[in-house]
Amino acid sequence: MKDALGAPQSLLILGGTSEIALHTARKLVDERVRRVVLAGRPSDALDKAAEGLRRQGANVEVVAFDAAEPDTHEKVIEGVFAEGDIDVVLLAFGVLGDQESDEQDPVAAAKVAQVNYVGGVSAGLASVKALRRQGHGSLAVISSVAAERARKANFIYGSSKAGLDAFAQGLADKVHGTGVHVMVVRPGFVKTKMTEGMPDGPMATTPDVVADGIVKGLRKRATTVWVPGQLRYVFSVLRHVPRPIFRKLPI
């Protein structure tokens, strides 16, 4: 249960090796979170992440979960909720793909959409179903500023996040009044292993800063969190830039 100051006690991370999610987990374990469930494809990285949180004092479970296989999502998520209430679900899985090569490889491009959007839809719905049953809890969906407007430089990834973002917004309104809170998180360029080797985008940020935004948003039951916060205003302008100009922008 969340307490009066908005601090949760239990956390499910879908995409258990996500750096943003693990930074968030560490901050929440520092507060009141005692039960953490890391769901992801079995790997050394996943076990290592679990070990780190255990050292911090949390009870950590690791469950096998593959975002690319929506058929399995409901069963995995139901299993986690059957063991006890979950106060926060962090939908953190996602792949970036490689825009240049994916444009030549439709199957690889579809894989990006399959994980980021299709997987997000089934995992999001399965999570909300369980949260509604318990009458409380938050689902934080990690979207991206790339969802805000398609850019020629990364429209495959961007469109998959746009789908996920729109899905999460609608879901948030659908569950209003059921005790469930759905929050969309839109980070800008985040320096992680996912973006390793890429030149920093404008207003680049770190997983730690994004995690701060998520923790604060959860506490305030925010509907949308931008990290850094100024991106909200940058994009409120970019959204309306005419196409002939937007096309030529070096972004």
């Binding site: 249960m1 969340k2 307490d3 009066a4 100051l5 908005g6 601090a7 006690q9 507060e31 009141r32 005692r34 209430d85 509604r132 049953r133 318990q134 009458g135 409380h136 009044g177 059921t178 005790g179």
Partner: protein, 462 residues
Amino acid sequence: MSDGPSADFFPATRRTSLSGWGRTAPTVADVVTPMTREQVAGALQRRSERGVIARGLGRSYGDPAQNGGGLVLDMTALNRVLDADLEQGIVTAEAGVSLDRLIELFVPFGFFVPVTPGTRQVTVGGAIGADVHGKNHHADGSFCDHVLSMDLLLADGTVRTVTPEDDPDLFWATAGGMGLTGIVLSAVIRMTPIETSLVSVDTDRARNLDEIMAMMAETDAKYRYTVAWLDCLAKGRNLGRSVLTCGEFARLDDLPAKKRANPLRFKGGTLLTVPDVVPGRLPNKFTMGLFNEMWYRKAPQHKVGQLQSISAFFHPLDAVQEWNRAYGKTGFLQYQFVVPFEREDALRKAVEKISAAGAPSSLTVLKRFGPGNNGYLSFPKPGWTLTLDFPTNTPGLARLLRELDELVLSNDGRLYLAKDSRMDPADMDRMYPRLEEFRTVRAKVDPDGVFVSDQARRLGLA
């Protein structure tokens, strides 16, 4: 016509968002308002695997009367007084009867409720579940010390009449048990005889914490009702400056001649209702500092024998309906702890910490407890108890309260479950050493954990 709803009529459940008086951490549950005992039993059978909890007037500050995803029984329609012995002052009331109603009904006959918290808008069932205390704890103990018996609906659907003599385990697990042993349907209560409805009040101001503690140690033996209001924003040599009020119900002879004609008159009611539009940042350390200054200044330095009404002396805040809205939508929380008398230093440190943090507590109340009772989870035990109100958006509040938790824990103190909305579950068994015994009794009467609340889930009580 029959005198109650027919058996095939059953009140509808409503999916409703509920929170406590502090308006924090809402959850959604199915709420049903049973009209009769039979309907309470019927509702119990219609529960889901998320269980059931009873709810009264929702004056607990946190989440003990919430049950996210489960069933919440709104008990306020079970509001009949079933029997009254006006010679002995023994009253049998259904669980949903409020103390307000008991006062209104029985003060004219010369009986006051044995114990009342700072509001009379609590139900008999809630008063038992939290084993509430009042300004007379040092003299009369807490609410359940005056409960002679109660009818308790158990998880298996049976009703048991529980008394402290015949079934002490279940009685004292239910007293202060936060509704987790069963549903109180009715209770037999011993009322307190009074000659008049007026309280003879002595007021004194204390310039600092040492002075108020010395004054209170002295007045306990002399007065039935005592309490101090403390300005926790005062600093330096004013640290802990307070207003002490002590009272006794006035005797008939104490009244001026013109009031003797109708000595047991009681007038409840409210003056105004706070609208739900107050900005959350209004109660801050500046506004509260001003308020505290004014409150301290307006109190007389020393006044004896002032006659006050029951409402003015016991329930000043009840005059303002929905006063919790004054904290805005972000809500507030109350923090009440007790530390043993021999740990007075802890109390001083706590007041210093709060003052240094500039946390704007508006209603800081200091009180001395007398001996506790056998309630497994009952809060009062001999010592000093301090009660604070904080808006939840107070900067640094989580850390301040964690530091206070540490102080309370390391001095054999504890927090009050009826006020709690954020304590660390890991502290629970140290604060309540009889928690394991409570769990054992509960496991016997409710092996499947039918009775459960958000608070029980949060603190792992069950």
